[in-house]
Point group: C2
Chain length 491, copies 2
């Protein structure tokens, strides 16, 4: 089912985890393949060895990290330039053959599953950092560069790229899904961090959106239209992204609260006074129990916790730490632990990053249903309380973690996938939470994206605006060849 996301509990930098996925790969029965075959013949002429129809290559490109039924593409193309992407799209457009861009396949909602077959476009041959503009704090990269590859290139510049979804995702994929992560509360999501794009549109045209200037009032904001469009409006072939200076000083901390309300209230007050926290993660008591049992060196009280990180000058960080401590202690926070040394900090965030594995240790033989919602922070404690009530009513176990500064929370509902009743209960719970998020003026996905998994909720969330999205899709991709079946259903 679409919203079963067997990935890490959150989107932090943990190795990806594949749960047992149904390998019932969808066939081509009932699909008119003539147009695909003609397109593929032309693509073969264009790309030679860089067009593959091998079974194992097609299987690799049949799924992402979501628990959706894999679908084989008819072929996989490996372009090496924007010009080549343009030519590929032109061929596919002529034959109305679907095209799905693919990076490392780390998306979480079935985004890259080629549900109508066609061509999977593996972008990993376009993996160069084209320019680093240290004075302008931007970098120009090809879409197949991963976020850690970019940060490796930046190592000697004193600069960093901040968006940190769980996987070592590609920059193209991160832009396409409007990814975010633990640093987004301070440094923004891909929405704020993509300045400009080069895109191949559905007719094979190459366009450039935005500029390297920090701001512009010159026309429609096409950059933001493509960011988050999941490859359904165009194929991203180049990105200009924002960089930040590496902080002079970093300090991390954990503290415990009697209840989630006070943890959230601390964050609200800290944000109101302008504390520029770099990371602020909520870990509920179920997840703390899991962390304690999974990590030998952990023995935290089984209460809701905040894990925090502060960036700045040494004096600035010290001041932030003191200010936060004052706020939190007024709200009953206890058990402050500071991780000023790099190794202590790494140990803390490694534990956080391994939250999924830790959670799974609560039920080693099981699997998990994941869901990601985002609400106004004033509604976060209520929504988590509702989630906990529903978890209890259903007799399920589900740790909750969240990027609390953004109002974004993740459930990992631990299940036995062979137990149909439990499985259905988990699915129902995930579905209900999407509606809870909508009712609280929030969104059914803060960072994972729509793909196949959340498409059923798009109309409920967007109302009449969903019709405008469909209209945009129809006008920009009239033959529905770009990642059909994702974000909006137009036929």
């Amino acid at each position: 089912m679409a919203f079963l996301i067997p990935d890490t509990l959150d989107n932090l930098a943990s190795p990806l985890f594949f749960v047992a996925r149904s390998h019932r790969v969808a066939g081509t029965k009932g699909r008119d393949m003539t147009n695909h075959a003609e397109a593929i013949a032309e693509l073969k002429d264009l790309l030679g060895d860089r067009l593959s129809q091998g079974q194992s290559v097609r299987e690799t490109h049949s799924h992402d990290e979501a628990y959706t039924t894999p679908v084989l593409p008819d072929a996989v193309a490996f372009p090496e330039s924007t010009q080549e992407v343009s030519e590929i799209v032109k061929i596919c457009a002529r034959h109305k053959c679907p095209i799905v861009a693919y990076g490392v396949g780390s998306s979480l909602e079935g985004h890259v599953v080629p549900v109508k077959g066609g061509v999977s476009l593996n972008m990993m041959g376009m993996n160069k950092v084209l320019a680093i503009h240290a004075e302008d704090l931007d970098a120009v990269v090809q879409p197949g560069v991963t976020r850690t590859e970019l940060n490796t290139e930046l190592r000697d510049t004193g600069l960093m790229f901040t968006v940190d979804p769980g996987a070592d995702a590609t920059m193209g994929g991160m832009a396409a899904t409007r990814a975010s992560g633990t640093n987004s509360v301070r440094y923004g999501t891909m929405r704020e961090n993509v300045l400009a794009l080069e895109v191949v549109t559905a007719d094979g045209s190459i366009i450039r959106t935005g500029t390297r200037a920090k701001k512009s009032s010159a026309g429609y904001d096409l950059t933001h239209l493509f960011v988050g469009s999941e490859g359904t409006l165009g194929i991203i072939t180049e990105l200009t992204v924002r960089l930040f200076g590496q902080p002079e000083s970093i300090s991390a901390a954990t503290c415990a609260f009697e209840d989630i309300d006070n943890a959230v209230q601390s964050v609200i007050l800290a944000i109101q006074i302008g504390l520029p926290m770099a990371r602020i993660e909520l870990i509920d008591e179920v997840q703390i129990k899991a962390l304690n049992s999974y990590n030998d060196s952990f023995d935290l009280p089984e209460k809701p916790h905040l894990f925090l990180e502060f960036h700045g000058s040494p004096a600035g960080v010290a001041e932030q730490v003191e200010s936060f401590k004052d706020i939190a202690e007024d709200l009953g926070a206890t058990d402050f632990e500071w991780a000023k040394k790099t190794e202590d900090r790494n140990r803390l965030w490694a534990a956080r990053h391994n939250a999924y594995y830790a959670a799974r240790s609560l039920r080693p033989q099981g699997s998990a249903v994941l869901t990601d919602c985002c609400v106004p922070i004033s509604a976060l404690a209520d929504c988590i309380r509702i989630a906990k009530d529903k978890i209890a009513e259903a007799g399920l176990i589900s740790p909750i973690v969240g990027h609390v500064g953004d109002g974004n929370f993740h459930l990992q509902i631990l299940i036995d996938p062979e137990d149909e009743v439990e499985f259905s209960a988990a699915k129902a719970l995930a579905s209900e939470l999407n509606h809870v998020a909508i009712e609280h003026e929030g969104t059914v996905t803060g960072e994972h994206g729509v793909g196949l998994g959340k498409i059923a909720y798009m109309e409920a969330q967007n109302g009449a605006a969903y019709g405008v999205m469909a209209m945009l899709k129809r006008s920009m991709d009239p033959d529905n060849i770009l990642n059909p079946g994702k974000v909006v259903q137009i036929n």
Copy 2:
């Protein structure tokens, strides 16, 4: 001519200034008015007294602050609710009658001139602050609320709305033009500060874009599509905007440099180390001369200056100030003056805000051609040098100021509007600078918008993407009734 902007030199909070504008109001000759008349008859039934065809009301709505030929609307409608806007748009859509939304008329590129007649939609009857969510740091407002009205409502909350274009513009207008200002280097432009919108589309549908959650990956980013679309894709009827906590401490300063390169380099280094400057304005030596002669209490050395403001905790502000001073002095900065007291700070920014009047004092009988460009900050000193060379070559006088942290600079070319040769030289210079900005990977307008004034440069700047913008306009407004003739030319 379209790019003659007789407004303040920059977009700071100065009273608006009307230069002698040609009052040759365009007539209706050659225009098929039948459809307009039918629409207006129906609108009269709907709105009664709140539809005006009086000459003076129509004249008020025939222009903005730009030096464009005014065009009378056929009527002016004064809606009081979203539902009413929807009904008005439905009537106009049925009769293919143009509709131009109008706030306080402070736009700078002819945005609100109803070049094809039709209905001017005065949004000032929708001027309520609907909600302030202090915990979520957002406010929900109607489009006719001005930015100072919102800040007045916020006074007792400890919160502030930060975007500060020159005029006391409406929130709807600011969103429509993607406005920014002196605080944008720290707090962002309207692009970053609009979270969600309610919009009436070209067929009269009411849609809601975005949510009150801080982030979302749920579908196409319609909010950013409408922000900056200048009323050509829909009429904004409600906005949810970001708020920030008022800083605990504020300090302002001025310092002088031998040349603009070193002033810009200081800003680049300060941004690279992460100094969160709240304002950082470049004032060239010509403008300093004007300030000295215009303000009795000013006697600054006639050199390029930076005017700065720092926000934060008292200790944080002190640290920022010291860090900036170290950087700037290494680059030869002199004549530091600190304005820690509120009255000193107000005096400083009042002088900055009055830059236009000061500049005009250099040539009291003249007028001015204004232009606004934005480039990557690494190119800013070069672009200003090119501008200065071109000013000298043309034998013109033009002070330059800029929001240097954003790479955004403004020229005010002082002219005698009766002198055709000088006038043409100024226009040619403004035009050349747009191309200089494009060549330096920048934009022809950082904050004023396209309107009529910059539309001639949209294709040069956007290339093939301009075609995509036109396609979006055609699909979202097939009869071209929403502010026709602005942003993109589609017929």
